[in-house]
């Protein structure tokens, strides 16, 4: 049965369609893998019963010939998506017992497509983090290890549980959310694919909000084609989200060709950071060469405000977060801590102090500060203006190129605990992913190779607004050329 978990999502779909195996068999195989992989701590909540029920429903639908595009496919759901009746925690103590009475827009679409949700995946608390170490449910351990080392590594974040589960073959695919790189950076760290679509492609309805103008859901899976199929099911207009785009969803899974002949690929010179490792630089150049060989034209481009993107992000995202997280006050849902003889204000302060972890508090404080009287213009307004410049940079660049190629992250996965004491060092993880987030552009990380320690490195493709197809095609071309076949050696679950 183990072999079933090794299949790509598309291959599982084909196998189910042919009747090579049943959805129940497929889901059961994954449930077994999940059970054996608890030391990765990828899941906050496992839902085996619901998964099997969905599998049975899928088998029935397959038998009737009415199966949805994802019938019986075992998926993991980042625990930031509200799932009706199933505990949704955002990896926070403040929501540790929250059972949403509603289903998020994205997961509702996936369910409607027939997917079997095997559980809720661990993440950084409220998606704030780049290593999945801020979770109130403990860190996720990457299935990857450096060559010749047993030291635990981070899977990246904030969609660390999603990345680890996909890489460790616990699920066929997973949902992620990406605010400043939370899909792409963990995808790069764990050798899988992940795409953040254009802002507004996927409904934010029912996704616990971190920074509303940046949050965007997307799929994580082991192949570009798997991502295309998942994204197609996740995307689409939702009238319950005012920022949701009213654009038709292309049939990406069918349109995906990997054909990039004649496309102009921009390589932004500002992304060549001082002190960038030679391996990463070499991989980036290799990526450009692969695309050139596939018929694309490589052009040098400039994105002048690249270095300002991260500081801009670390003003805007905490500002929005400080307001978005004000609703966790212990009144209508979630944790309440009531000091003896305390007032309402005392209850708020105690509840939030006990309910939020250090990183969340840090960002709430920072966001509250930059919005407070006297600082708004200098920080928030300034940042929104610089954001406009960053968007303009991309617009200008897309005058001379069709897609942009960059590394996904400045390093490979680092050791668990390696950066927790230095917030800024941690924030620098997102240096390559944040600009596209600020501009709302579709961007994807695709695994391209291993570093000398045997750890995955990813390349990022950024496209014009709504050009997910271009992004997927370029990623497919890289995938094909890179021939990335590495998988983490299974060290967990050894009895």
């Amino acid at each position: 049965m183990t072999a079933l978990t090794e299949l790509s999502l598309c291959a599982m779909r084909e196998g189910l369609g042919r009747g090579d195996f049943s959805a129940r068999e497929l889901v059961a195989a994954h449930l077994a893998a999940i059970e054996a992989a608890r030391e990765l701590n990828a899941f906050i909540t496992e839902t085996p019963d619901l998964a099997l029920a969905a599998a049975d429903a899928a088998d029935a639908a397959l038998a009737r010939g009415e199966a949805g595009p994802l019938a019986g496919i075992p998926l993991g759901i980042k625990d930031l998506f509200c799932t009706e009746g199933v505990r949704t925690t955002a990896a926070s103590r403040i929501l540790a017992d929250f059972r949403p009475p509603y289903e998020s827009g994205v997961t509702a679409r996936l369910k409607a497509a027939g997917a079997a949700f095997v559980g809720k995946l661990n993440l950084d608390e409220f998606a704030m983090g780049s290593s999945n170490e801020t979770s109130a449910f403990g860190p996720v351990v990457s299935p990857w290890r450096a060559r010749g080392s047993n030291a635990p590594l981070v899977p990246g974040g904030s969609s660390g549980g999603s990345a680890a589960a996909v890489a460790a073959r616990l699920v066929a695919g997973a949902t992620g959310t990406d605010t400043g790189g939370s899909i792409r950076q963990p995808a790069a760290f764990t050798g899988i694919c992940g795409i953040k679509p254009t802002y507004g492609r996927c409904s934010r309805y029912g996704i616990v909000a971190f920074a509303s103008s940046l949050d965007q859901a997307g799929p994580m899976a082991r192949t570009v084609a798997d991502c295309a199929l998942l994204l197609e099911a996740m995307a689409g207009h939702d009238p319950r989200d005012a920022t949701s785009l009213e654009e038709p969803v292309p049939a990406w899974s069918q349109l995906l060709s990997g054909d990039i002949r004649g496309r102009r690929i921009g390589v932004p010179r500002e992304y060549r950071l001082e002190g960038m490792s030679a391996d990463l630089d070499a991989l980036w150049q290799a990526g450009a060469a692969w695309l050139r060989d596939a018929g694309a034209e490589i052009v040098d481009i400039s994105l002048p405000h690249t270095m300002e993107a991260l500081p801009t992000y670390y003003i805007l995202a905490p500002a929005e977060a400080s307001s978005n997280l004000a609703r966790y006050d212990g009144v209508r849902f979630g944790l309440r801590v009531m000091p003896e003889c305390g007032s309402l204000a005392d209850m708020y302060c105690a509840t939030r102090a006990a309910g939020f972890g250090a990183e969340v508090k840090r960002r709430i404080m920072l966001g509250t500060y930059v919005l407070s009287a006297g600082y708004y213009d200098a920080y928030y307004l300034k940042a929104q203006k610089v954001r406009a410049l960053i968007m303009r940079d991309f617009e200008t660049a897309f005058g001379t190129c069709d897609l942009i190629l960059t590394p996904s992250a400045p390093t490979a996965a680092f050791a668990l605990g390696g950066k927790v004491s230095d917030p800024i060092a941690m924030y620098l993880n997102d240096v390559f992913t944040v600009p596209a987030s600020l501009a709302g552009l579709p961007a994807m990380s695709v695994p391209a190779g291993l570093d000398p320690q045997g750890l995955p490195l990813g390349l990022q493709v950024i496209g014009r607004p709504l050009d997910e197809l271009g992004v997927l095609d370029a990623a497919r071309a890289i995938e094909r050329a890179a021939g990335f076949a590495a998988a983490p050696a299974r060290w967990w679950g050894a009895a």
Binding site: P101, A209, Y376
Partner: protein, 495 residues
Amino acid sequence: MSTGAIIEGRTGPWEMVLGLEVHAQVISKSKLFSGAATAFGAEPNAQVSFVDAAFPGMLPVLNGECVRQAVRTGLALGCTINRWSRFDRKNYFYADLPAGYQISQYQHPVVGEGALEIALEDGSTRTVGIERIHLEQDAGKSIHDLNPELSYVDLNRAGVALMEIVSKPDMRSPEEAGAYVATLRAILRAIGACDGNMQEGSLRADVNVSVRRPGAPFGTRCEIKNVNSIRFIQQAVAFEARRQVAILETGGTIHQETRLFDPDRGETRSLRSKEDAHDYRYFPDPDLLPLELSEAFIEECRASLPELPAARRMRYEAELGLSPYLARLLTADMEQSVWFEALLAETAARQGRPAREVAEKAANWMTGELFGALNRLGLGIGQSPVSPAQAAALLAMVADGTLSGPLARQVFELMLETGEDPAAIAEARGLKQVSDTGALEAAIAEVLAAHAAKVAEYRAGKDKLFGFFVGQVMKATGGRANPALVNTLLRQALG
């Protein structure tokens, strides 16, 4: 230019300066950002959506009707309509503010400057500037008196759409403040944007009060929050201005603060701000897009406006020939105005005469007889026991001589009591004016026969006795005799 009430202080005259922020609940079926109902008086928390209760992942979606009503109100007040406006978050914690922020329009309101003309008792008019009108959410309600240790939170009102109509500090007396609110209320009701029900809180005002020496720069103002009747507004203003004068005259200074009006004591008191000053950290709501209005939409709003009180008042003067006094009286209140329009139409139709010819009599009757009776009975025009059609029938009976003035008054009293039609009452009670020459001649003959001595005196030249005979005839006919006819016949009989 000032018609304001001057406060004669110990040290000389003072002038009050008043500005009002009127919060008007927009008439809409559902809330500003959710599909929950807005009706008054539902069971606690029965009209609450997860959006209103700010559950995780819930997003606001704008109700277009509320925008339409705000724009119509702006147009009715001659305001500029901002083609581009925006929703901001006003951040503060309170038990009845579920999200921890109120969605409002801080920097870019949908409606800009305009003006409202108000008429005062003495017949003069003043113009009060409108600063802006913006849309915002109402908060929920905390109930403090049901439990000794707990406050209860009802979110039925949370998210209901309010328009905040902000005046310029252009008012100088309680009378002006009262007239401003009354006029504004009439307009809001006339256009159907707000029901103006102050008891249910559909219309309430924050009143800004400062005092100064006449002609001097503005003084420091205090804001009296949430005053919910015109009378209270006037009382609060009068008290607050006197309070401030007393402080200033004893060498004190006014501190800008928020105060509450206590209707039982007729005074304002400080709403002690706790240790922390307000810092609302306004910023644009990233869940909502900017509000952009097309010319076509604005024109549609304009075309949907009914005749407004000011225009109607001018029409009454110009076309109906009513005095400015009557015209103002009849247009100050929408319901009264509608009643008068109905009365006028019925009266003109019944008497087969143009409206202009019957308008003054109808207006006089309505403002005199009807208003007097309703006042006495403590009823509003909406509860009048007499309908416009019945009133028109009554006026027609006067016009055709069926009823004399005194008889009409008697019939009207019975109409108020019974709600019956005037013709039926007159018939049943024999209250018709006697214009039958034969019957009157008989009565006159009887009177003259009974007072032969007086007849002789009259004929001898004592002319003053004519009134005596008229009185006797009226008495003999139970007051129903047509006085003009009695005069004529009596003169004939007395030769």
